[in-house]
Symmetry: C2
Subunit: 410 residues, 2 copies
């Protein structure tokens, strides 16, 4: 309508918002489309799942950002199809949105790797809905056990996947058990609660240095988490998990943190794929397409190893894609994407974390924990959210309490 | 089990918790039963409904209180029946809990007064689920209107009932319109949004002095609320409301704040009723029963005018019932309940409220608003909740923003 080219960005996560931030100063009209009207700060989802933070604390209202930029329009819609030939995106009611450039940043879906029963009986913690559902299920189990007596296995949680998500979730559950359950719920003792962490590889946190992996395993074990490396899950049912070794663990909750795969929109796209992710060239354009970029969890480089599915690659990818659009508009050649690894970190609990940051510096314990706290506060979007998270963390740290807050069905 | 008498308290609202607070120092075992494991601060539900506060901010985890008192047990259960003869309460799975004394504090349900379509199409804001559902419906309508264009009536809200709840809701929606909608959502202008407040009597806030009612009506009108006194609702459909005068108002949301009536448990109880509420004698015992008390919204005095359905009568009733149990245990005669009216207040918006407090002092405007803020902070349960609400209010006051935070399905 303005005569300027239209860039449609699908997905308001780390990648999509980073692209928008770079594009708002470009001579384009941007249409940002997302199913939700908030952006989820996924690194803290596990704290929502364990009742330490409110959903609102880590949900940033997209409108707060959009309204500051006249060339950015937001539409809360579900994208049902993409026609890369004619340059149109279809939303729920059949309406078509035309684009000159498209940035696909829709994230991923949980990948159950075909383990029987996993899709039906295990729970993911990839979206806000996932986290809230886990929180409510946990709280209901605990209340039921306290009111009616603990059934065998009822309060056993099996976490599948010893990456950052699995480790952080295990640490948070272990802390919940130590700090809260036995003191707050009559009829429940710490020994009624088991947390089992299953990892296929021979160590936790495979992307970290070995001594940090060892530290994490020891820290979790000291907190009472049963760490099972070199082990995997053969089957999941509503009542138990069968491990490859044949061991059967009765449990009330199976959390699936073993990896993510393509979401349905990505699966439906008629473009080249790498293990279900959209195959991108060096400049992050989808292979064979001049005006379609894919960034974040949904994308994978065709030529090199896929990037880790973390916030940093998503943010950097978003910035890069936006810059390429600026170059293309100026009829200049695109540039290859170079990921600058700013480090990785995972928290285990109170004053315990691991981090590998710039220059190969490796941290563990209190220092890593403080770095983790600081960085998560800095990267959280929205001043109100930051203050609210600081308040909740300070409160919990000082009071050693974390009472599950069930907002039923919420 | 301890040989001490058991007091069962059904309901963890203002009334039930006040009773527990008085009983924890008595030689009794208390079993507190509630469907939820949190206590809702109902006076601020309208702020959850309008996206100004998170549900967690006004939900106080019952366990936080219960765990400090060894003679108090909490059970998150739904009570399905009460047998006052044999002294037993039945919970969901058929389990029976025996009591020596029973305190019924289950609150009320929305009363649609038989208006056709109201129960199906209007929404209440009496429980946390109600408030969250209203918030999500509002946010979805606004997003849809912004994305697809405003349909006639889509953003019209009709509020039925000009008591404190209706006035506060109308004020909050008016502020949302002024502060947020036009600046935040493209395609929506303030004139697309109508807020209509319908009151059967000839003035709003009937329990307040006339000049405060007049102030409230003027303040709301200045904020663009259409106030219709001497008017009532004849029919509600999903698309419109028909007023008694014959006027038809197309609308997207009907909020029912016209009154509360008996909940299903109260209806099922085989005891004398006053307009559906459990009839109580002077000492708050249910008429004809020696060991059963009813307090809060579920109760009504058989002999005198029913008390307003507010926090103060509930709290005072809870304290009184608990004291009567102490007297009965000491074989002393019970005392009649005297309600000490500590005043009433309602907020309209930024620096605008009405209050009638001790000694008949009537306040309006900024002073009343500050009194309202202060009292609500003081009475909110839990230090963390207080801090969080102060943070949110300060943020909103300073930034003039209140961006709806949709946690879909939450």
């Amino acid at each position: 309508m303005t005569g300027r080219p239209t860039v449609v960005v699908i997905g308001a996560g780390f990648a999509g918002l980073a692209a928008c931030r770079e594009l708002v100063s470009a001579p384009v009209d941007i249409v940002l489309v997302d199913r939700h009207n908030f952006s989820t700060f996924q690194p803290l989802l596990y704290q929502v799942a364990t009742g330490g933070l409110n959903p609102g604390d880590i949900a940033y209202p997209v409108r707060s950002y959009v309204r500051k930029h006249p060339n950015l329009t937001f539409r809360q819609e579900t994208v049902t199809a993409v026609d890369t030939e004619s340059g149109k995106v279809e939303i729920a009611d059949g309406e078509l949105i035309s684009f000159d450039y498209l940035i696909v940043a829709v994230g991923a879906a949980t990948n159950y790797f075909g383990v029987p029963g996993a899709a039906e009986s295990a729970r993911a913690i990839y979206t806000m809905e996932d986290a809230v559902a886990v929180r409510d299920k946990l709280a209901r189990s605990i209340e039921r056990a306290s009111s009616r007596g603990v059934q065998p296995g009822e309060l056993t949680v099996v976490i599948v996947g010893g990456g950052a998500t699995g480790v952080e979730m295990a640490g948070a559950l272990a802390e919940m058990r130590r700090m809260q359950l036995a003191t707050t719920y009559e009829g429940i003792s710490a020994s009624d609660v088991r947390v089992v962490l299953v990892e296929q590889q021979d160590r936790l946190l495979a992307p970290f240095a070995e001594r940090l992996s060892a530290y994490a395993a020891t820290a979790l074990s000291q907190r009472g988490v049963e760490v099972r490396c070199d082990e995997s899950v053969a089957e999941v049912t509503p009542e138990h998990v069968v491990l490859k070794s044949g061991e059967v663990i009765e449990c009330g909750l199976v959390l699936w943190a073993a990896g993510v795969g393509p979401c349905s929109l990505a699966q439906a796209l008629d473009v080249p794929k790498v293990k279900g992710r959209l195959a991108v060239d060096e400049d992050l354009r989808v292979s064979g397409h001049d005006n379609v970029f894919a960034i974040g969890d949904v994308a994978a480089a065709a030529a090199t190893a896929p990037l880790p599915q973390l916030a940093q690659p998503a943010i950097q990818g978003g910035q890069h894609a936006a810059k390429q659009i600026r170059l293309l508009l100026a009829s200049q050649p695109t540039q290859p994407f170079r990921y600058h690894d700013k480090g990785i970190m995972a928290t285990i609990g109170r004053r315990s974390a691991v981090a590998e940051i710039f220059l190969g510096i490796k941290l563990k314990g209190t220092l890593a924990w403080m770095a983790w706290l600081g960085l998560h506060i800095v990267f959280l979007l929205g001043v109100r959210n930051r203050l609210s998270v600081i308040l909740n963390w300070a409160w919990r740290y000082l009071s050693w309490r974390r009472v599950g807050r069930v907002i039923v069905g919420n």
